[in-house]
Symmetry: C2
Subunit: 334 residues, 2 copies
DNA sequence: CTGTTAGCGCTTTCAT
DNA sequence: ATGAAAGCGCTAACAG
């Protein structure tokens, strides 16, 4: 590998002149600049980002921590981050936490020891306090899908309450009155917010909220099956169910089919997240979109602002949007 | 940030002793080792991988180049790579090429300037020659889903021919005789191998290969629609179609439904790749599995062998496997 | 505007 | 077994 020193020698200038050319300083004689650039070409010189990092105490790398990589949700998020950051000539180091606290902590230590300039994470495992502490004492953090007190200008969330509201409101507008709800785990913020939205829609629609019409799942496909079975049992006249994510909606769908129900005629289903497969299931799933790519982009830009002095306009809260497809039956049409 | 020097001072030993402890050298007096370790604890010392990289000329980082990140195919691949590599205390720097040659070349330069120790790529854009040249002159490469002459012990492929064979063989076993084929682009290796397998199955099943029963697609969902329409027109008695990937199979499915066909009764469909959504479509898709996570793991291990002197056992060619679900109708049952 | 010099934090001979 | 010293490739005062 050619070094800056060899370039200097070849061009007949000093080390620092080459460094200046490299960093685009204006205070370089055009003739010298030309000579240096030629030398770099001839020697096929590539700057060592490692040496530069050591000297500047910056790595231009941002650590990413996600639960998984093999689902479109995280894939879209990470891709948006990578594209945004690489445009700014930064790079991403990706780690996967597998929803396991120990692995997440390990990953964060790993990223810090790699001297990342900042972290972007989507995690459920670490507590607000842990995150805030790291953000203050060690390294700037941006968080997606979570609102952590103590991390200012670094949290980017979907308006989950509004999303939950939208889903149920749609069902009510389509004439449904017997509506079940398959929620996410009680201890998850976003899950509970979605449920609140559901309750608000019920109230505004003049319907009573019945606790027995809520089944607590864990965002897994199987919970959709269990949930639907439970809800059907609670209320055989059920005409619709809203699921707190698309996976559970998909599970509810196959369960419904196993029960011999004709979809969407006999049962309407609404999902949440608008994952890539939402339009692959049959009937195509009506769901609430989660602009995860936008949030990824924002998280990246917030880092660009905080760490690299850029000036992007940030938007912390994202509106949910209802994506109407074919999984809700219009009872008014009868 | 604490440095090795401060640790040395705190422990009352020399710089080099700390370094030895850090690298687990055996030639350190246990008492001193203990003192050093205590000092590291007390000062909350974290080694700087940047400084180490500069000194060792190694970054312990591996660059990844994929076309996309937002599809399960690449997601699974990258995740397998990350997990394998991080166990070995290496890390991955991920770039996305978007199927664009210029961006791919750019990404590779980027990764090299980041001083990655090796590259793992899944790319269609760069030529065999380009790849082989980079591998020889610049940086070790492992390639997934492609067999590049000149990259030894670094190519990991699915047996596409066998996969194509399996798909069609299954259809024939189920009594189908009028079988259409929606292929990938003619200029893609894997696409053509899958088609060869199809032809071999036809031949072994005693069926004629009819060129007009093949539609050339580009692996996009829409091609499945176009393909099915075309094939139906060529042969209205068509009972089955094999698609060279799951996306096109999904497209063919919705098209079939639009045509008023009852699936799988009126039309059997087989896909390829076994993407995550394959069991979300209805009817659940019978398809050929592509162990992309295994190949990712192997690619990672091959790098571990070549660059970091580890000794993993490698498997270059992977058997395709038929995953039987519900999208093929058994004509023998009539 | 250009060159000299001193680090950045670590590894690695080479002596002791 | 331990320490001293040089160097990895670059940036950033500082002096001229």
């Amino acid at each position: 590998m050619t070094t800056i020193y060899q370039v200097a020698e070849h061009a007949g200038v000093s080390l620092s002149t080459v460094s200046r050319v490299l960093n685009g300083r204006k205070t370089v004689n055009p003739k010298l600049r030309e000579k240096v650039e030629l030398a770099m070409q001839e020697l096929n010189y590539r700057p060592s980002s490692v040496a530069r990092s050591l000297a500047t105490n910056r790595t231009d790398s941002i650590g990413i921590l996600v639960s998984e990589l093999d689902t479109p949700f995280f894939g879209e998020m990470v891709q948006a981050i990578e594209v945004t950051l690489r445009q700014a000539n930064k790079h991403v180091i990706i780690t996967v936490g597998h929803n396991d606290l120990a692995q997440e902590v390990d990953a964060v230590e790993f990223l810090i020891s790699r001297r990342c300039d900042a972290l972007i994470m989507h995690t459920e495992g670490m507590s607000d306090e842990q995150l805030a502490a790291i953000n203050q004492d060690r390294i700037p953090i941006a968080v997606i899908n979570r609102d952590v007190p103590g991390i200012d200008d670094g949290c980017f969330c979907l308006d989950n309450e509004q999303g939950g509201f939208l889903a149920t409101e749609h069902l009510i507008a389509m004439g449904h009155r017997q509506i079940g709800y398959i929620s996410g785990p009680r201890n998850k913020h976003d899950a509970m917010e979605r449920l609140s939205g559901h309750k608000r829609a019920l109230a505004e629609g003049g319907l009573d909220f019945l606790p027995e019409m809520v089944f607590e799942g864990h965002f897994q496909e199987l919970d959709g099956r269990d949930g639907l079975r439970y809800l059907k049992q609670q209320n055989p006249a059920l005409t619709a169910v809203v699921c707190a994510n698309d996976w559970m909606a998909s599970g509810a769908m196959s369960c419904a089919r196993d029960m011999g129900l004709d979809l969407p005629r006999d049962l309407s289903i609404v999902g949440f997240d608008n994952l890539m497969f939402a339009h692959h299931v049959f009937p195509k799933l009506t769901t609430v979109s989660n602009p995860v790519n936008k949030m990824g982009e924002m998280a990246a830009k917030s880092i660009l602002n905080r760490v690299y002095d850029q000036q992007h306009v940030l938007q912390p809260l994202y509106d949910a949007q209802l994506v109407v497809r074919d999984s809700v039956f219009d009872l008014n049409s009868l």
